[in-house]
Symmetry: D2
Subunit: 316 residues, 4 copies
C-alpha cells in the first residue's frame, strides 16, 4: 500500500488536461488490430494528449472478451511507455472480474484504474458506497469513479462521491452524466479537497467545466483530433476567450455532424471509428451488440468530416 500512496501524491498532481477514451481497434474477425493500435497510440501521443483512458465505454469494454482486454492493456502500456499516465477501465458487474483486470493493469505498468458501478441490478447509494469501498480496498492501483447513469441506471450521488473521495485509494471521478448541477456539486467537493481529480465526460462541456475548475476532459473526439482538444484545453487555461470562440463551434460541429448522424446506439462510436478509418488509423469495425450505422450514414459522416477538417486547418 505504501507504494500506491506515493503514486497518489505524485501522479494526481500531474493528471490533467485531455485524456482520450481510446477506441479499441478491431480486425474484421473481432480480434484486436495491433498495428492499428500502434498507429492510434502514436497519433494520440503526437497530438499531445495528457493521458490515455483505455477500455472505457468508447473502448467497448463491456463487449470485449477477456483475451482482447489483456492484449490491449499490455500493448498500450508498452507503446505509451510511461510518456503519459495510462488509466485502465475495469468496469464489470462482478467484483472479482474487475479486480482481475486491475491486477493485469498493475502488472503491465498502468497508472490508474477506473470503474463504473455494477450495472445489472438497480443499486442505491449504500450499495454503491460499499461496492466502491471494497473495490478500492482491494485494487492494486488507485481508482477513479466513473459516473454514467445512461449506461448504469444509477448515479453516484454527490454525498457518496464526497464520502468516497476520502478513501486513500480513490483519486478522482470521471462524470459522463452531462448533468450540470451534478457536476457543480463535484466541483464543490474538489474545492474542499483539491487533490481529488474531476474530469468531465461530454467534450461539449470541456470549456465550461475546466473554466469552472475541472481538471480536464475525457474527450472521445480526441481520438480523431487530439491536438484540437489539447489546444482548446490550453486556451481555457490561458483565458484566451477569442481562441475558445473559434474552436468551440467546431467541437459542437463534431458533436452534431459526426456523433449524431444516426439514431443508432452506435452513432457516437461509429462516428469516431469511421473518422479514424478516413484518417487511415484503423478499420471501423465495432463489436456486437452494437451494429454499425448504415452506409448512407457512413457517407454522411465522411462528408461532414471533410468540412470539419477544412475548418480545423483554417484555424491556424
Amino acid at each position: 500500500m505504501g507504494e500506491y500512496e506515493i503514486n497518489k501524491v505524485e501522479m494526481s498532481g500531474n493528471l490533467k488536461g485531455i485524456i482520450p477514451p481510446t477506441v479499441t481497434p478491431l480486425l474484421s474477425n473481432g480480434e484486436l488490430d495491433k498495428k492499428a493500435t500502434e498507429r492510434l497510440t502514436k497519433h494520440l501521443l503526437d497530438g499531445g494528449v495528457h493521458g490515455f483512458f483505455i477500455l472505457g465505454t468508447t473502448g467497448e469494454i463491456s463487449s470485449l472478451k477477456p483475451s482482447i482486454k489483456k492484449e490491449l492493456i499490455s500493448l498500450t502500456c508498452r507503446l505509451v511507455d510511461r510518456a503519459v499516465p495510462v488509466i485502465v477501465g475495469i468496469t464489470h458487474t462482478a467484483l472479482d472480474s474487475s479486480l482481475k483486470f486491475a491486477k493485469v493493469a498493475k502488472e503491465n505498468g498502468a497508472d490508474y484504474v477506473v470503474s463504473a458501478p455494477p450495472f445489472f441490478f438497480p443499486l442505491d447509494q449504500q450499495d454503491i458506497l460499499a461496492y466502491y469501498t471494497r473495490l478500492a480496498d482491494l485494487s492494486p492501483l488507485p481508482l477513479f469513479l466513473y459516473n454514467f447513469p445512461a449506461m448504469t441506471k444509477c448515479s453516484i450521488e454527490p454525498d457518496t462521491v464526497e464520502e468516497l473521495s476520502k478513501h486513500s485509494n480513490i483519486v478522482g471521478i470521471k462524470d459522463s452524466s452531462g448533468n450540470g448541477v451534478y457536476f457543480q456539486n463535484l466541483l464543490s467537493i474538489k474545492r474542499a479537497n483539491p487533490e481529488f481529480n474531476v474530469f468531465v465526460g461530454p467534450e461539449e462541456l470541456l470549456v465550461q467545466s475546466v473554466y469552472s475548475g475541472a481538471d480536464g476532459a475525457v474527450a472521445g473526439g480526441a481520438n480523431i483530433f487530439p491536438s484540437l482538444y489539447v489546444k482548446l484545453y490550453e486556451a481555457v487555461i490561458a483565458g484566451d476567450k477569442e481562441k475558445i470562440n473559434r474552436i468551440q463551434p467546431i467541437i459542437m460541429e463534431i458533436s452534431r455532424k459526426i456523433y449524431a448522424c444516426s439514431g443508432k446506439s452506435s452513432s457516437y462510436l461509429s462516428g469516431i471509428k469511421e473518422s479514424l478509418y478516413y484518417l487511415g488509423i484503423c478499420e471501423s469495425n465495432i463489436c456486437l451488440p452494437m451494429l454499425s450505422v448504415d452506409n448512407a450514414t457512413k457517407e454522411q459522416i465522411r462528408h461532414n468530416l471533410e468540412k470539419i477538417i477544412f475548418k480545423i486547418k483554417t484555424l491556424g
Copy 2:
C-alpha cells in the same frame, strides 16, 4: 402583428441578466397575498433584477386557480410599472387556456409570455413543433419556449428549437433541463441567430452558461438574494474570476443547504418560501398537491440560511 414586431426588436435587445422566477405569495386560505406580493416586488426591484418571470414552476402555475393567476398578472404589472420586462407563464395542457392567459398578460401590459409544452400526453418533436407554432401564431405577446423535461416528460430537441427560433413571434428559450450538451446546442443556435434569447434555469449553472454565451439566468434564488445573483452575473460579464470564485460557493451552498434539505418534491420551493418568510417578505404557504417540508426541515433551512446570510455579508 406590427406592434409585436417592434417589441421583438426593441425588447429582445435588452433582455438579459437575472430574471427571478417569482414565487406566488399565498395566504393560509389559499388566496393571493397581495401585501406580500408588493413586498416581494419591491425586494426584487431594489435588488436590481433585470426582469420578472411570474407564473413559472417556482410560481406554482399548475396548482393555482385562474382567478389567482389573473390577480397576480395584474398586480405585478402594475407594481413593476415597466421598470423591467415582465414575462408571464402561460403553460397549460390546453391551447385555449394558454391563450386566454396570454391575452390577460397583454391587457395588463406584460412584455412576454413563456410556455412549457403540454405535459399530459407524451409528445414527439412533430407534436411540439406544431403546438408551439400554433401558440406563437395566436399569441398577442412574443413567446419564450420553456424546456423542462423533468416536469413535462419531453425535451424540445435542438432541431425543433432551431426551427422554432425562426418564427417571428418566438424570441427565446428558458432551459431548465440541466443538460449541459443540450444547452451547448442551444448556444450554437444562438451563435447563428444572436437575437434569440437563451436563458439557463438551474442557477448553479449561471456562471458557466453566461460565460459560454447565454443571456442570463432564471434564478430561483434571486427571490431571496436578488443582488447576489446580479453581482455574480456582472462578475461573469466583467470576467472577474476572483469575484466569481467567492460567490459561486455560496450559490452551491444555497443549492445544497436551502433547496435540498428534504427529499420532498416541494423541497426547492419550500426552501425559497421559508427563506422569504425568514426575511419577512411572505408566508411559507404552498399549494396542493405539494406538501410543505416538515418542521425539522424548516428549522434546518432557517439555520442554514443564517450561515449563508453571514457569508454574503462578509463578501462585501
Copy 3:
C-alpha cells in the same frame, strides 16, 4: 354527505362490466360535435355497455377548454338519462379546477367522478395521499382513483390505495398502468374490502383481470365495438373458455392493428376516432397537442378495421 353515502352503497353494487372511456367528438373548428355525441351515446347504449366514463385520457380531457367539458357533461348526462352510471373525469393539476367540474358533474346528474393525480410536479406517496383525501373530502360525488403513470409520472402505490380505499367518498380505482403485479395488489385490497371497485384500463387485460376478480374494464375499443367487449366480459363471468378463446385474438388484433399503426402519441386515439369515422359516428378530428396520424396510416387503419369487422361478424 348523507345523500352521497346512499349513492355509495346503492351504486357501487351495480358498477361492473364494460365502461367505455368515451371519445370526445369534435367539429373541425374544435368545438363539440353534438350530433356525433348523440350518435356515439346511442351506439354505446345499444351495445349494452354498463356505464360511461367521459373526459378520460381517451376523451382528451387535458386538451379541452372548459366550455367543451361543461357541454359534454351536460349533454351526455341528458342523453344517457340514468340508463347506466356516468363517471366524469375531473383530472387537473389544480384542486379548485377539479372541484369545479365535480360540481358541474353533480349538477347534471352524473354518478361519480374520477381523477388521476396532479401531473406537473413529481409527487411522492404522501403528496398523493393528501391530495386525494382533500379532493374526496370536498367532492360532491363519490370519487374513483385513476392510476396512469405513463401520463402522470407517479404511481398510486398499493399502500396508498389501501389507505384511500377507507375514505367514505372513495369508491374504487381505474388502473391503466398495465403493470400486472400492481394490479394483483389492487385485487388483494379488494379481497379485504369487496365494495372497493377495481377496473382495469388496458382492454387487452380484460379477460385475465376479470377472471382474477376485477369488476370490469374501461375499454377504449368499446367505443367502436361495444357489444364485442360486453360479450367477452360476459364470457369471462360465465367461465365460457371457448368463447373467450374466439374473442381474445380479435381484441389483440384491435390492439396491434388499430391502436399501434403508428409511432405517434396519438396512435391509439386516432385508431379509435378513424374507426368511428368509418362507422359513420363522428369525424376523426383530434385536439392539439396531438396530431393525427398520417394519411397512409389512416388508410391502413381502415383496411385493418374491415378485416376485424369481418371476423366479428363470423363470430356469430
Copy 4:
C-alpha cells in the same frame, strides 16, 4: 444441428409448469456452498418442480465469478440427473462470454440456455434481433429469450420476438417485465406457433398467465415452497377456481411480506435467501454489489414467514 433439432421437438413438448430460478447458495467467503446446493436441489425435486433455471437474476449471475458459475452448472446437472430439464443462464454483455458458458452447459448435459440482451449499451430492436440471431446461430443448446427491462434497459418488442421465434434454435421466452399488454402480445405469438414456449416471470401473475395460455412460471418463491406453486399451477390447469382462490392470497402475501420488506434492491433476493436459511437449506449470504437487508428486516421476514407457513399448512 441435427442433434439439437431433436431436442427442440422432444423437449419443448414437455417444458411447462413451475421452473424455479434457483438461488446460488454461497459460503461466507463468497464461494459456492456445495452442500447447500445439494439440499436445495433435493428440496426442489421433492417439491415436484418441472425444471430448473440456474444462473438467472435470482441466481445472481451477473455478480458471480466464472469459476462459481462453472461449478454450479456442473453440480446442478449432476444432481438433477435429467430428472427434469435444466436451463442455464448465460446472460453477459459480451457474446463470446455468453457462448463460453453455453458450451459449459452443453458439456455438462444441461438442456437449454437462456439469455437476456446485453445490458450496458442502450440497444434498439435491430441490435437485439442481430444479437440474438448470432447467439442462437452459435449456441450448442436451444436458447430461451429473457425479457427484463428493469435490469437491461431495453424491451424485446413483440415484433422482434415474433421474428426470433422462427429461428430453429430459439425455443421460447421468459418475460419478467410484469407488463400485461406485452405478455398478451407474446401469447398471440404463441397462438400462431404453439411450440414457442412462453413463461411468465413474476409469480404473482402465474394464475392469469397460465389461464391465458402461458406454459408456466419461473417462480422465485418456488425456491422456498416448491409444492405450493406446483399445486397452484395444477389448479389453474384443472380449472379449480376454488383452490386458486385459496392459494393466490398466499402468493400475494409472499410477495408483499417476504419480498417487499425493504426498499433495498436486494429485498426480493434477501427475502428468498432468509427464508431458505430459516428452512435450514442454505446461508443467506448474497454477493456484492447487493447488500443484505438489515437485521430488523431479517427478523420481520422470519416473522412473516412463520405466518405464511402456518397458512400453507392449513391449506391441506
